[in-house]
Amino acid sequence: MNSSIQSNLMSTLRIQSLRRQFSRDSAQPAVNGVTLDIPEGHTMAIVGESGSGKTTLLRMIAGLEIPDSGEIYIGGKLVSTCLRITPPEQRGVGLVFQDGALFPHLTIARNIAYGLKRIGRKARAARIEEMLTLVGLSGYGRRYPREVSGGEAQRVALARALAPEPRILLLDEPFSNLDTTLRKQLRDDVRAILKNTRTTSLFVTHDTEDALAIADEIAVMRKGQLLQVGEPAALYRNPCDAYCANLFGPANRLPESFMRGIASPPAPGQMGDGWLWTRPEELEVLQASGTDTLQVEVNEVRFVGERQELKACPCRQPEITTGSLSTLTLYWEGRDEVRPGQILWIKPRHLSRGEPTTFPEGDNDTAGD
């Protein structure tokens, strides 16, 4: 959305208006006019639910899928237009697959050596050792893929992809087959490796946690289009719509009149007309009513370290007549213990600060958590 295609000459990967439709009958293309830029050395994550077209996008960058239209530049070189497609082996792209895709008939060392062509024997052995050390698997060279664990296989896949020094490394949900503990560790290791080797990389995932942990920049993809591209903090604080907002944390839907602090407006028809979304941090939770407050009843209390996370339902109030109110997520930082059934009041913080931090309603079918 906000990528600046015109300016950045240093970008390693540049995608322009990329489009791919699988069947003529299907209503929407898998990838629909995606434009994206990744500066050198950056790690970009594309987050989207399954079927959002993120893997198709990745495969088109790798040259494994042929776009209907649009252009792809890798390292400033045009590799894909509607007229000419550079085959994957000539693109200088590394890809780490979801399942590793190690060659089962080759040892780990020979897997890593597979992409090292036109290089002397000594140099090759040195490079293999270097890569194995990089991913923390030195001494594993003689093993076969079936003799290593899932996490180790992913490390080997990473080493294999990095060995020929690709211009850009693509990672297709590389952690999704691993269990949580392993996943977190591998994630941190991969980030460190990518930073150490200054590798430009594009990482595709459905897991926002993975994306937040690894990426310098995140792009949210939905129905073949990029909704928003930006740094993690920016995406959290200023999501472009409710869908993006819900991806990166809890968000509450509240009447616009309440959020804007219009107390007791003259005509009831004005109220509840619009909805605004806001993060729980933006709502102040009070134990007594005041001006511009909304009464809520606590349903659930969850202890999360410093504070308590509350699920609360707004009570029916005469001021708010139209629209259905959904469950809210609130943070309670007070000393007093809150119990389910307790009545509390909430108030937008920005009313005392001055600037509203809210975001508009996006597509309706995505609202809710």
Partner: protein, 577 residues
């Protein structure tokens, strides 16, 4: 193009994929797209192979439009109804018997626990090692043993009753013999269906309170129907293909009719008409089988949980009866013929095992090896083309190239000899005349003709294991190899082929054994005085020297047993992915 197919058609040569325009392609556009696709080397080579392999079918279908010969009306009126009747009787009775043996046997071994279950589970496949004609020779004297009964019928009820009893016995015996060695096709298919596909559904049905019988009829059988039908269609094709057994027992089926019309009466045109009829029937059978299969697929892939199903224990009586029931088909199809052949072989081995016999084995092995080499090479070409190339024309090319397995040997033989004979009479004779050489047959009656025939008939046998072996290699491996800088051909040589060693071996063994036991094609197309184990067994048996024919027959059975090993492995492997 659906997402799945386009996912497969990704790594490749973009320029060759047809334009994705919004409008449907016209005939001329489609034609041009075909030409463009054929320019791709893999597609072209595969297409060429498919063309060579389809020559017999094309020749036969083309000749169908020629005016019928003078004998045709005679054949149609007098002999054809008999051929049709005999074929229909054998197909239906042997098919029915195969179902009655194969399906219950598979159900028993896959859902019940009884003594010897594990052994029966694989031993029930053993009859497949016995070719139909060998089984016929092993039971060759059985008709004579019913003479007392026949005489008694004639004395008691008269000549008409005697004739009826004789033919009932003859047809009955041949049907039983055919079914007892062919039922494993049905057995294998339904065993796979019961123990892998329907396994969890059977368990669910039982937890919902249905007993074994109810589960069988309401869940297992409907789910296994496509698989069973596929197995049955193989039985039917084998029955139609059979020449040795039916000719030995004097039942002129269509296959016998083709040979008779062609070789004895010298009427090639009428033989072609008969062949065309058979081929059309077989094609209808294939289409019907594919249609009934629908989307279900013979071996439904998908995720199979790797747990052993809980098999129901039987009562004390069941523990005796069920193994005995399983023993019946095993005995009739394998143990008894094997034992009889072995006994005769011991008696006559001294007389048969002469130096001449060793050279017979040599030539058999040589022809089987050459046949295997050419067939596996052809199948490798097809399966590699499908892996490497992305043109859409390849799928129909490969399908048509592998249809030959369904066409009876007699039909293939005539479809090959006719064009080769034409080549010999035309261009070759002309060249020889010009060069002043002695006129000699260059193609027909040579090993070349036989090699082509094996290629036509057995390409599918090698192609399917190779194809499924290729498919088992995840396409991500190809993608990884390409991204690491290897070309499509390099990927094929470095990744696909090394991973294909197992399926290649399986394909080679299957074809080797099939060539070794093949009879009708070899019988007709072999060079003059060239004998293999199967033709030797045939000639000895037709001279009535049953005891002597046991030695080559037994060797064929042993080879057939070796062939079962990869077959069994393949059946297991198809599910363990």
């Amino acid at each position: 193009m659906n997402p799945a197919s386009s996912k497969a058609a990704t790594i490749g040569i973009p320029a060759l994929t047809t334009p994705r325009s919004g409008t449907p392609a016209t005939a001329s556009q489609r034609m041009r797209s075909w030409v463009v696709q054929l320019r791709e080397p893999w597609t072209f080579t595969a297409g060429l192979l498919a063309l060579i392999v389809s020559i017999p079918a094309l020749v036969i279908l083309a000749n169908l439009f020629a005016s019928p010969g003078e004998n045709w009306s005679h054949i149609r009126q007098h002999t054809l109804p008999g051929y049709l009747k005999n074929t229909a009787i054998l197909v239906s009775s042997a098919g029915l018997l195969s179902l009655m043996i194969g399906v219950p046997a598979a159900w028993l071994v896959s859902t019940f626990h009884f003594p010897g279950r594990r052994i029966f589970s694989w031993a029930l496949v053993l009859p497949l090692a016995v070719p139909t004609y060998v089984a016929a020779y092993a039971y060759g004297d059985i008709l004579q043993s019913t003479f007392p009964l026949q005489i008694w019928v004639r004395k008691t009820y008269g000549t008409d009753a005697f004739l009826l009893a004789e033919s009932v016995l003859r047809y009955g015996i041949v049907s039983v013999i055919l079914a007892s060695v062919l039922y494993p096709y049905v057995y294998l298919a339904s065993r796979a269906a019961f123990s892998y596909q329907a396994c969890s559904s059977i368990e669910v049905s039982r937890t919902l309170g249905h007993g074994m019988t109810s589960t069988f009829f309401r869940v297992a059988l409907p789910m296994a129907r496509p698989a069973i039908a596929a197995g049955l269609s193989l039985v039917i094709m084998e029955v139609i293909n059979d020449y040795g057994a039916v000719s030995f027992f004097g039942i002129p089926t269509l296959t016998v009719g083709i040979f008779r019309t062609w070789l004895a009466m010298g009427d090639a045109e009428s033989a072609i008409r008969l062949s065309a009829g058979v081929m059309i029937f077989v094609l209808v059978l294939i289409v019907a089988e594919r249609l009934q299969r629908g989307n279900k697929g013979f071996f439904a892939s998908g995720r199979h949980t790797h747990h052993t199903p809980l098999r129901k224990p039987l009562s004390r009586a069941g523990n005796v009866i069920v193994p005995l029931l399983c023993l019946i088909p095993l005995a009739t199809g394998f143990l008894i013929p094997g034992w009889r052949l072995a006994r005769w072989a011991l008696q006559t081995s001294g007389k048969v095992l002469t130096p001449k016999f060793w050279s017979l084995i040599e030539s058999t092995l040589a022809i089987a090896a050459t046949g295997t080499f050419s067939v596996v090479l052809g199948a490798l070409l097809l399966s590699s083309a499908r892996r490497v190339s992305t043109t859409r024309l390849l799928a129909p090319i490969c399908q048509s190239a592998t249809l030959g397995y369904a066409v009876p040997g007699a039909v293939i033989a005539i479809g090959i000899l006719l064009p080769l004979g034409w080549l010999d009479r035309g261009p070759v004779a002309w060249t020889q005349e010009r060069l002043g050489a002695e006129p000699a047959l260059f193609f027909s009656g040579t090993l070349f003709a036989l090699g082509v025939a094996y290629l036509v008939r057995f390409l599918a046998v090698a192609y399917h294991p190779l194809k499924s072996g290729m498919e088992r290699v995840c396409s991500n491996l190809d993608a990884a190899s390409r991204l690491l800088g290897r070309s499509p051909l390099g990927t094929l040589l470095r990744i696909n082929l090394p991973l294909l060693r197992g399926p290649l071996l399986a394909a080679a063994i299957l074809v080797f054994v099939d060539v070794l036991k093949e009879l009708p094609l070899t019988l007709v197309l072999r060079p003059f005085n060239f004998e293999t184990l199967s033709t030797k067994a045939y000639s000895l048996a037709s001279e009535g020297r049953l005891a002597e024919c046991s030695v080559p027959s037994l060797l064929i059975v042993i080879a057939g047993m070796i062939g079962l090993i990869p077959l069994n492995r393949l059946m297991e492997g198809w599910h363990s992915r």
